[in-house]
């Protein structure tokens, strides 16, 4: 590695290629560019469409103007330890990416850029599934110089992967079709509707109203056409349930998860065969989900959230480890995915009992508000409905509290929560990116706080423990930050 490099330094920063002014608007307007130009041409001939014509001109002018500003203002340069980018006119931004944090540099050539002799450079840091720096566009040969120069400085190496199955491959999961039928039948989408219907009937029963008499009364008051609608709705629910079962079977047919060296490979699907890879090093969190019907049947779904990598062609996302698994096998599978033997969800600590009060208040307020309207307009008996709903609301609040649990080991955080769908997260402290403690005004009065643990997983990357006592939340945050900072985060390693 030479100490000097052909890349622009701070004294002579690089800029974008002038033809970006042509390629940029094309990219931004995308497919709209052709109809836009046609509309403009037609607009100049017709007088009635002047308003629309003016609007289109504004759009095009605005796009071109932003490109002009970008072209005139963007500067980039490389010094001895970082890549720098400066953009913006009113809002000026300076981005500094240390060279040793650069994970990969890619050069791509969208067709219109390529026709004009330009290319796009994308610089990506560890764990990103989108580029952190985009140079749109520079001259094609300069793009290659940047890529090779930065790769040399950063010392990034492309990961190598072997494709052949070796005798040491181990089948982790193979889901029989009968289990998939159970999976489809216990999907929460349908279950929630059934529970809601049962809850309403139950509440009326509790309030002393006989459901049978209610139907008779309703039948007298209401035209037969309504019953047809009711039958149709019920039939739709049943059909929806059957479709859910069929969908599970088709999608996860013959689900097989195989461990090949340090990668879990899965295949599944009946009509179209899907496959995916989960490199174990990329796993950020493992999540065990139990819709409540599945919980009664002692089964769970296991899912792994991974960080992405543009270069390796892996998007950040959620990979199914097992669509449906008996509870007994869950700890072993989670341990395998985390490469941490003996991982389980025992010994979880509860949160403050004040959480029950908070959840109850949050549930009862909308009920009271909703009951207040008909109580005022129609009859005060609606207040009885609100009172009746208060009992299940309290039970729900208590169930919600009882479901929350947490445990912080030396290298692993386990969090469980959820009533209708119970979720358990397993987050290695080495994968923790940042930690937060959040308090709403109500929580502040009760001395409670939410702990928010952020990982490099995709959309679901934040794991939340709600309604901890404030001191506990602070203590956990400090310990997590401490343990997380003790390890280096390298998305392909650790």
């Amino acid at each position: 590695m030479t100490t000097s490099h052909p890349l622009p330094g701070p004294d002579d920063p690089g800029r974008l290629h002038p033809l970006t002014l042509v390629a940029g608007p094309i990219r931004q307007l995308g497919g709209w560019i052709v109809p836009l130009i046609i509309a403009l041409i037609l607009g100049t001939r017709s007088e009635g469409a002047f308003g629309g014509f003016g609007f289109l001109v504004l759009i095009l002018a605005g796009t071109v103007a932003s490109q002009v500003i970008q072209f005139l203002r963007l500067r980039w340069w490389v010094d001895h330890d970082a890549f720098h980018l400066r953009t913006g006119l009113l809002q000026v931004e300076n981005r500094t990416v240390p060279l040793d944090r650069i994970h990969n540099v890619d050069v791509t050539e969208p067709i219109f850029a390529r026709l004009l002799g330009m290319a796009e450079v994308r610089i990506e840091s560890a764990g990103s599934s989108a580029a952190d720096v985009n140079l749109r566009y520079v001259a094609a040969d300069q793009a290659l110089t940047i890529r090779d120069g930065l790769r040399g400085l950063a010392g990034a190496a492309a990961p190598t992967e072997s494709e052949e199955a070796t005798p040491e491959d181990r089948i982790l999961v193979h889901t029989p079709t009968s289990e998939l039928l159970v999976a489809g039948a216990t999907n929460n989408r349908i279950g929630a509707l059934a529970v809601a219907a049962a809850a309403v009937v139950g509440v009326l029963f509790e309030a002393g109203v006989d459901p049978e008499a209610l139907f008779d009364v309703a039948g007298d008051l209401v035209r037969p056409g309504v019953w047809l609608v009711v039958i149709v709705i019920v039939a739709a629910i049943v059909v929806g349930w059957l479709v859910s079962i069929a969908e599970s079977v088709l999608r996860f047919h013959d689900f097989t998860l195989t461990l090949h060296e340090d990668e879990a490979r899965r295949t599944h699907g009946l009509l179209s065969r899907s496959s995916g890879r989960i490199p174990l090093a990329r796993v950020q969190t493992v999540r065990v989900e139990q819709p409540f019907l599945r919980r009664w049947l002692h089964r769970s779904t296991i899912v792994a959230d991974t960080a992405g990598s543009v270069s390796a062609g892996i998007s950040a996302g959620t990979g199914t480890v097992s669509p449906i698994e008996p509870d007994g096998r869950v700890p072993e599978l989670v341990s395998t995915m985390l490469r941490r033997p003996g991982t389980d969800a025992t010994g979880l600590h509860p949160v403050s009992r004040l959480a029950i009060r908070r959840a109850f208040v949050r549930a009862i307020v909308p009920i009271v508000l909703l009951a207040a309207v008909p109580a005022i307009l129609f009859s005060p008996w609606w207040a009885l409905v609100a009172a009746g709903l208060a009992i299940p609301a309290w039970f729900w609040a208590r169930a919600r509290w009882a479901a929350i649990g947490h445990r912080l080991d030396e290298d692993l955080l386990v969090v469980r929560s959820g009533v209708f769908t119970r979720r358990t997260w397993f987050v290695p402290t080495a994968k923790v990116q940042a930690v937060g403690v959040r308090r709403t005004p109500f929580q502040r009065r009760l001395g409670l706080a939410d702990l928010r643990v952020e990982s490099a997983a995709s959309a679901d990357g934040t794991v939340v423990v709600i309604d901890l006592e404030l001191d506990t939340a602070h203590a956990l945050a400090e310990r997590l930050s401490d343990r997380s900072s003790a390890t280096a985060f390298v998305s392909d390693g650790v």
Binding site: D81, L90, V97, S125, D132, G308, V432, E454, S481
Partner: protein
């Protein structure tokens, strides 16, 4: 010891807040020009007053509740008036850093520092109201840790920024 933001950040927040106050004012003027009934004008006026007062007092409350500290192993910030938020970012998790400034901020000599951790660039933490020199020095400190460094070694802090810290009496 907590570090505070530069007081001139309140001006930035005030200006952006007042822009919101313009909306009910404009509605009020239009309503008056079109001869809208008096009680409606009163309501609009009341809204304008409430928004205006909030726009002036909220930045002050926001400023009082903003604090940050760079420790040996992590960066800690806390802010929020109604919803209080505290965040810890381990220094070994910092991927890259932005220093940004809008026109008003740059006129006042302050910047916003944005710290990015791993994960699609969405995990970021912003510290507004930093004098430019302080922003650059904080950036240098945050990026001083490199992958090659042994993780167990604590990253030493360099020269303290020039502004004297305020003691807010927090048990940090």
């Amino acid at each position: 010891m907590d570090r505070r933001l530069d007081p001139s950040i309140r001006v930035v927040w005030l200006v952006s807040g007042l822009i919101w106050a313009v909306v009910p004012l404009v509605a009020l003027v239009i309503g008056w020009a079109f001869g809208v009934p008096g009680w409606l004008l009163g309501v609009l006026g009341a809204i304008a007053v409430v928004v205006g007062v909030t726009a002036i007092t909220y930045p002050l409350a926001r400023y009082r509740n903003w604090a940050w500290r760079l420790r040996d192993d992590d960066l800690v910030i806390r802010h929020g008036v109604v919803f209080k938020l505290e965040r810890w970012i381990p220094r070994t998790r910092v991927q890259y850093v932005d220093i940004a400034g809008g026109p008003i901020e740059r006129a006042l000599g302050i910047r916003t520092l944005v710290v990015y951790t791993a994960g699609s660039g969405l995990l970021s933490v912003s510290i507004p109201g930093l004098p430019q020199a302080e922003a650059e020095s904080l950036r240098a400190e945050l990026l001083a840790w490199s992958v090659a460094d042994a993780p167990e070694e604590p990253v030493g802090s360099t020269a303290e920024p020039t502004r004297p810290p305020d003691d807010v009496g927090d048990p940090w």
